[in-house]
Subunit: 243 residues, 2 copies
């Protein structure tokens, strides 16, 4: 018999509330009323409250000076900074992996993921869902590649800022054609990053990872300036002011 997971209600509150906020269910800046939310999510205020505090440390909510929590409001520059930070932290993970070396198991897994990404991209018809899954695994692996749990933790944290995650612009169930052309470029950057790490070229690995995050920035600016209609398709973008 498997052990019942701990903190069931808290985890449910965390996951469901995060989705609700990222999906733009609430207007940016609005106050979240505990009682109503608790009823909506079918749990009591205690675990909900814990989840709200957690989401506040993630930056998705804000503490209201007169009590309670507000949905955070982001400026365009906030998102740009969040993406920049993700690039910096992934760059650090890549550099440290190059400087310190990788565990063979992780190195091999990374090589496999890259081969499978090639297949997904080079196939006659792009295998989008495979790409999304493998891209997420690439970034997950990269975070832990230096063998440092502290670095891995902070990289993952940086991914929680809205629109900063490597998968942010791939989320929609359907494929957004405007982003497809960037996938081949992204994949050759994946390869270059890994190559630099293998060759112990720390500085190069760091720069490449930073530049790779710039793709997200390009996508972000494209949405904001050219295709505001896509805003609702990218989780979190509805919280960005001044569209």
């Amino acid at each position: 018999m498997e052990r019942q997971e701990r903190n069931v209600q808290f985890n449910r509150a965390l996951i469901e509330l995060r989705s609700l906020v990222l999906d733009g269910t609430f207007e940016a800046g609005c106050r979240l009323k505990e009682a109503a939310l608790a009823e909506r999510l079918n749990l009591s205020r205690t675990p909900l409250r814990q989840a709200m505090d957690r989401l506040a440390t993630e930056g998705l909510l804000k503490q209201n000076p007169t009590g309670g929590y507000l949905v955070a409001r982001f400026t365009i520059d906030d998102i740009i900074d969040a993406i920049e930070l993700r690039g910096v932290l992934e760059g650090t993970a890549a550099r440290l992996a190059a400087e310190r070396g990788m565990e063979p198991a992780k190195r091999e897994r990374m090589a496999t993921v890259l081969d499978e990404l090639d297949e997904a991209v080079e196939a006659d018809e792009l295998d989008f869902s495979a790409y999304v899954r493998l891209n997420a695994e690439f970034h997950e692996l990269l975070a832990g590649l230096a063998g440092s749990s502290i670095v891995a933790r902070e990289v993952k944290r940086a991914n929680k800022l809205p629109a900063a995650s490597p998968t942010a612009f791939l989320q929609g169930q359907e494929l957004i054609p405007d982003f497809v052309r960037s996938l081949t470029q992204a994949q050759s950057q994946h390869r270059a990053i890994f190559e630099a790490i293998c060759e112990r070229e720390g500085a190069r690995a760091e720069s490449l990872a930073r530049e790779h995050a710039r793709l997200a920035r390009t996508n972000f600016e494209y949405v904001m300036n050219q295709k505001p209609s896509l805003v609702e398709r990218v989780p979190g973008l509805s919280l960005v002011a001044g569209q």
Copy 2:
């Protein structure tokens, strides 16, 4: 009449528990019992629990898979990584400040702090408490110098990892003579970082800030290898395994 602060008990729990853990009151890895702790801190389990969850996200506590929270255990490499990360993030703050320019008010305040730091260091007798205060302000200002609240937040977060903060090795009420000689060097690094930012030399500012964090690593390794007796004087070091 000033408004009563919100979340009084929660904030008290957070601050007092953080001190207790950093002071080494509990053994690394031991379980924190909510009822006992709540009684000790004179508050109920609800705000204490919130504080424990917060400290877990800071990395000071760990969730126990079978329930409750444990005091985190750190390896020497964890501390080294935490310091590295702080350097990386302060480096990013410095680089962005150089690239984007500073608000004049912040720039002037920084110049004043640096002058006062010079006075504290160059006086016939080192003014240690002034140095500690001003050093903290320098790093606080640096975090916000790029005008990005997101960057500032993450820099401050990185300071919460044990022994990673710029003040970690200056904490003791009394002066630890072994660290005094590093203060002049630290201050000339402060000056160089600021100069690079003023000159819009982003890459130089970033490298210098990273190198500046290395002083903390030097201090850390000195304590661990040469003077283990100092471990109890630096907050958080009692949680490091294998002394």
